[in-house]
Symmetry: C2
Subunit: 373 residues, 2 copies
């Protein structure tokens, strides 16, 4: 239907008067607004895109008309003209559902009101067609940008490809692995150090350590942070007390079985995430060990599972929702003409002390607590 060239002489003074000219049930388009405002659609376009080259009076009149008629520019049409969509992708291969959902919510919170939407893309990072799959996804949807979750976020080949495709990205990570504009990160090393200090404060000297899976940067960071904290107080982590893990409950069970069969038995275990810590609980119970009297346990993440273990798990809180929101904002800052807001600091995870840690039983009476730690 060709746009009726109606009485351009009439200049609507109020929204109500003009409303009759849009067929009910049809969403108004840029043409409707232009016609009602007696301007070209290019001028309406300028208002939409906040161009400074519009007379204030005109801008205001158009803005009001848009509001009155509930006009919202069509992202599809805008995207086609811009050669870019208003979609943000979230790419991940992460075993932790709680983390994924909370991050999604955080990102959505961060883009609220911006007109952007979130398209999720779980994937298999070890699949042979991983890169081409992501490439197709990004190209087909002409994504404005993507949020990358660990460990996919640590893949530099991937980010190089995204750059080549002209797709913005922000990595969610455990260490500073990119410049501030492309990174939302927690300082895992600091968080783990806090956990180590807590255990040493309680008097533990034989501490077991369950690592994250190879291929996760957090594995390295968490171990490093822990060992550094130990060595700062002259302690060290013997190889016999370090075990592999996979950030899953089952791997926590397996690791705990190994660690708790060592002699002498460790008096405390740090698990690089909560899921694995839950596995340690199961093995401890099975071996008749009481937590924390016979064994102290510390986890990492502070996912809901930590509060529902018994006794409640002492763990390091990873600021998931904040990371999501921040990632979204960084992406939005990449819109042309956007003034970049102050870059967020690298967030510091902090220890949440609950009931799974206590001084070691056998030694609690003969070991001196370090003063003022």
């Amino acid at each position: 239907m060709p746009a009726r060239k109606t009485k351009r002489s009439e200049r609507p003074e109020t929204g109500d008067e003009a409303a009759g000219r849009i067929e009910p049930g049809r969403r108004p388009t840029i043409n409707d607004i232009a016609r009602l405002a007696n301007v070209s659609k290019k001028t309406v376009s300028r208002v939409i895109n906040e161009s400074p080259f519009v007379q204030e009076e005109t801008r205001k009149r158009i803005a009001e008309l848009m509001k009155t008629h509930g006009y919202e520019p069509d992202p599809q049409a805008r995207g086609l003209a811009f050669r870019r969509s208003f979609l943000i992708g979230m790419i991940y291969d992460n075993p932790n559902a709680q983390m994924v959902v909370k991050l999604q919510e955080g990102v959505l919170e961060g883009v609220r009101g911006s007109g952007f939407e979130l398209v999720v893309h779980p994937c298999d990072r070890s699949a042979r067609n991983f890169l081409s799959d992501v490439r197709g996804f990004v190209q087909r949807q002409k994504l404005f940008g993507v949020v990358l979750l660990p460990p996919v976020s640590e893949n530099d080949t991937l980010t190089a490809m995204l750059t080549e495709l002209g797709c913005h990205y922000v990595r969610v990570a455990s260490a500073v692995i990119d410049d501030s504009a492309h990174l939302v990160s927690a300082n895992d090393r600091l968080g783990t150090a806090e956990a180590a200090n807590h255990l040493m404060d309680l008097g533990h000297t034989r501490i077991g350590f369950i690592e994250g899976p190879p291929g996760f940067r957090s594995r390295k960071e968490r171990r490093l942070g822990f060992e550094e904290a130990l060595s700062r107080r002259g302690q060290k982590l013997p190889e016999s007390l370090v075990t592999d893990g996979a950030y899953t409950y089952e791997s926590g069970v397996a690791a705990a079985e190994t660690l708790l069969s060592r002699t002498p038995r460790p008096t405390a275990i740090f698990a690089a995430n909560d899921e694995m810590a839950a596995g340690v609980y199961a093995v401890a119970r099975q071996k008749g060990l009481t937590i924390p009297r016979d064994l102290s346990i510390v986890g990492f993440d502070d996912t809901p599972v930590s509060a529902r273990l018994f006794p409640a798990l002492t763990t390091v809180r990873w600021p998931i929702p904040e990371m999501g929101r921040s990632a979204a904002r960084k992406l939005l800052d990449m819109r042309p003409g956007e003034r970049v807001s102050a870059p967020d600091e690298v967030l510091t995870p902090y220890l949440v002390v609950r009931d799974s840690t206590a001084p070691p039983k056998a030694r609690s009476s003969c070991v001196r607590r370090p003063a003022g730690a």
Copy 2:
């Protein structure tokens, strides 16, 4: 850049020969393919949309060209012309992260290769602007369809609005609350009945029941299924042994405290989901009750938490991934010209017996097991 009107007389015989004519780095468009195939873009369009009105020889030649050049039609442009996007929304206000993530994965699996993508939309169903928020989301993105998760899926005002907007939808639900085309459902009543039978088979007669939250259809279904099964064997559920729950761990704790303070104490508790069952474990432990010797527990969902409780939870498995895949397929079946595949049956959840159920201690010796149940 205007499309160069090049030598239409030359008719490319092979893709290789033609390849040189598309500038490298630029994705081919329908115009490129048309030019290379020496046909109008309308004909290419017909091939894309699988119109029968294309000569087989022509169709084949064009299809090959598309493949050679890695041509994929632009969903944005197609959407603009179709007045509809190739996006599917997932709308939910559900506390269970595991369920949400698995359903997302299931839907994505179901649409794989179709060119559709999934846009997630967590929301607050009790917010005053709930409906208008969803309406804006659907209209702005011109969603092809949406998958509705419980309890949002049970809102008929919502589905009426979607129909009015011309947006397809599929509900994920716990009972038959719509016609087969719009519904992917588990028969919760049957699943719960199985749980009840299992407990009765073991000899339990005093069974506590923790309900789901008001506003969830599953609350009603699960209770009904349970009571029907009991009454079929002449048992009944006394009001004093029924408690409210909210599908959260904390509500499970509160409910268990109530139920376990009744005298005589119930010998078994059915919790309407796994999260609440986890809460029952905590209270039981705190009261010094050993599971299943002093108390049998049955959950519902079979989420990962059930396997990591100790002892492992007997629960009713809800077929989450299957529901997601099926929902996606139903949506795709609504594409014009699509022949509807056989509608899925309503899925039946089934009992997974683990270690949290046993005959009641005090009575196991004097109660006769019902024969052949």
